[in-house]
C-alpha cells in the first residue's frame, strides 16, 4: 500500500463522522482515523441495512479490493445520493474510517466522483 494510493488525513477530520450506531455497532471501525482511497468502483449496492461500495485500490503489485459500508439509502438520499451515483469502472476518491482489524474495509465518509463533484465529507 503506497502513500500515493492512501493518504492518511488528520484525525481531527474524523470527529465529524457517522451518527450513532443503528444496524450494528461502529466499534469495528477506527472512527478517529480517515483515509482517502484512489479507487475504481467494482460494485455499488443500494440496499438496506447499508449501501455498500466494493472498490479496487491500486498498489505496487496490483490492486486491493476494499469493502466500504455506507449508511442507509434513505440517509444517503438526504446527502444527494442516488442508486445510479456510482457504477462499475468509475474512478473515484473515497474517504473512509478504516476497520481496526487492518482488513481492507471501512465506513464511508465521503466521495469525489469521476466528474469532480463530491458527496459527503471530503477534504
Amino acid at each position: 500500500m503506497t502513500r500515493s494510493a492512501i493518504r492518511w488525513l488528520l484525525p481531527a477530520l474524523a470527529l465529524t463522522g457517522v451518527p450513532a450506531a443503528a444496524h450494528h455497532s461502529y466499534s469495528m471501525f477506527d472512527m478517529k482515523k480517515t483515509v482517502a482511497l484512489d479507487a475504481t468502483v467494482a460494485r455499488f449496492k443500494w440496499q438496506n441495512p447499508h449501501s455498500f461500495i466494493e472498490a479496487d485500490v491500486k498498489v505496487p503489485d496490483g490492486t486491493e479490493r476494499w469493502a466500504i459500508e455506507m449508511t442507509s439509502p434513505n440517509n444517503l438520499v438526504q446527502e444527494g445520493w442516488k442508486r445510479t451515483s456510482l457504477k462499475p469502472g468509475d474512478k473515484v476518491t473515497i474517504w473512509v474510517h478504516p476497520l481496526r482489524s487492518g482488513a481492507k474495509g471501512g465506513s464511508y465518509v465521503g466521495v469525489r466522483l469521476a466528474d469532480g463533484s463530491t458527496l459527503g465529507e471530503t477534504d
Binding site: 444496524h23 440496499q47 438496506n48 442507509s72 438520499v77 476497520l99
Partner: protein, 265 residues
C-alpha cells in the same frame, strides 16, 4: 369398516384440508374495554373524524444534536441490582476489547422497543386509522400498532419486540403506554431491562416548528431501574419522502460468528 393401509393414508391426507375449510371462521374475543361492533376492527363510518387529528404526514428522521465540545455526556438510565452488574460487566468487556462486544444474536435481528424509536439511520411514518395509530419503521421493516380505541392492555401479553401498546389523544398529543416488551431486549446498547419494563410516550409536533415531531419518553422498571429514565427523541419531517425496503437477509454483510464477533464481508 376396515380400510387397507393405503386407503387410510389417502383418507387422512384428504381429511386435513377439508376439515380446515369446514371449521368455523376464527373468532378472537372483543378486546377488554371495547364494545362489540366498535373499535379499530370496525372502522367504517369513522374515517371523517380522523381529520381532526394533527398533521403528521410524510416520513420522519431522528435528529441527532451534536453535543457542545467539552459537554458532559447525557446521563443514561440509572440501573440497579443485577442489571447494574450486567451493565458493568458489559462495559468492562467493551473497554477490554476496543469497544467491541460480543453479540448473542444476528445483526439482522431488530433492536425492538424502545431502541427502535431512536435509530439514526432509518425513518418512520405514522398512519392514522379509526381506533389505531400504526408506526411503520424502515428499520427491519417493523410495524408498531398503538390501539386508540379504548381497549385495555392484554392481561398477560406475550413478550415481544414491540410490546403491547395502547394510546389516547390528549389534544394534539398522542399518549402511548407500552408493556410486554421482551426482557431479552435493551433500553440502549449494553443497558438491559426486565420483562416488567414499562414505557410512556407523549408524541406531539414541536410548537416552535411544525416539521419537528417530539417524543417524550419515560421508562420505568421495578427490577432494573433505580428511578424513571426520561429521554426525548426528536424527528424531522421529510414531507414527500417514503420508506425504503429493508430485507436484511438480502444484504447481510455483518453475520455474527460463534464467538459473538460481528464480521465484515
Amino acid at each position: 369398516m376396515r380400510l387397507a393401509p393405503g386407503a387410510m393414508l389417502a383418507a387422512l391426507l384428504l381429511a386435513a384440508p377439508a376439515a380446515a375449510q369446514l371449521a368455523a371462521a376464527p373468532a378472537s374475543p372483543v378486546p377488554e374495554g371495547v364494545t362489540e361492533g366498535e373499535g379499530a376492527a370496525n372502522p367504517k363510518g369513522h374515517y371523517a373524524a380522523l381529520d381532526a387529528l394533527p398533521d403528521w404526514g410524510g416520513i420522519w428522521f431522528v435528529m441527532f444534536e451534536r453535543p457542545a465540545p467539552g459537554a458532559a455526556p447525557a446521563a443514561g438510565p440509572k440501573l440497579k441490582g443485577e442489571y447494574l452488574e450486567r451493565r458493568e460487566a458489559w462495559l468492562a468487556a467493551a473497554r477490554a476489547n476496543s469497544g467491541v462486544v460480543a453479540r448473542n444474536r444476528s445483526n439482522c435481528s431488530p433492536p425492538g422497543m424502545p431502541r427502535i424509536m431512536r435509530l439514526a439511520q432509518y425513518p418512520y411514518e405514522f398512519i392514522f386509522s379509526p381506533g389505531r395509530v400504526t408506526i411503520n419503521q424502515e428499520a427491519w421493516m417493523q410495524t408498531r400498532t398503538i390501539w386508540t380505541d379504548g381497549r385495555a392492555h392484554q392481561e398477560d401479553p406475550d413478550p415481544t419486540f414491540m410490546g403491547d401498546s395502547i394510546g389516547h389523544w390528549e389534544g394534539d398529543t398522542l399518549v402511548v403506554d407500552t408493556i410486554g416488551i421482551s426482557g431479552e431486549l435493551e433500553i440502549d446498547t449494553g443497558v438491559p431491562h426486565s420483562d416488567k419494563f414499562h414505557l410512556v410516550e407523549r408524541i406531539h409536533l414541536d410548537p416552535a416548528d411544525p416539521d419537528v415531531l417530539v417524543n417524550e419518553m419515560t421508562m420505568d422498571d421495578p427490577d432494573a431501574l433505580a428511578e424513571p429514565f426520561r429521554v426525548t427523541a426528536r424527528y424531522r419531517r421529510d414531507r414527500y419522502g417514503s420508506l425504503i425496503e429493508f430485507q436484511c437477509s438480502e444484504n447481510d454483510r455483518n453475520p455474527v460468528d460463534e464467538n459473538g464477533e460481528t464480521q465484515f464481508n
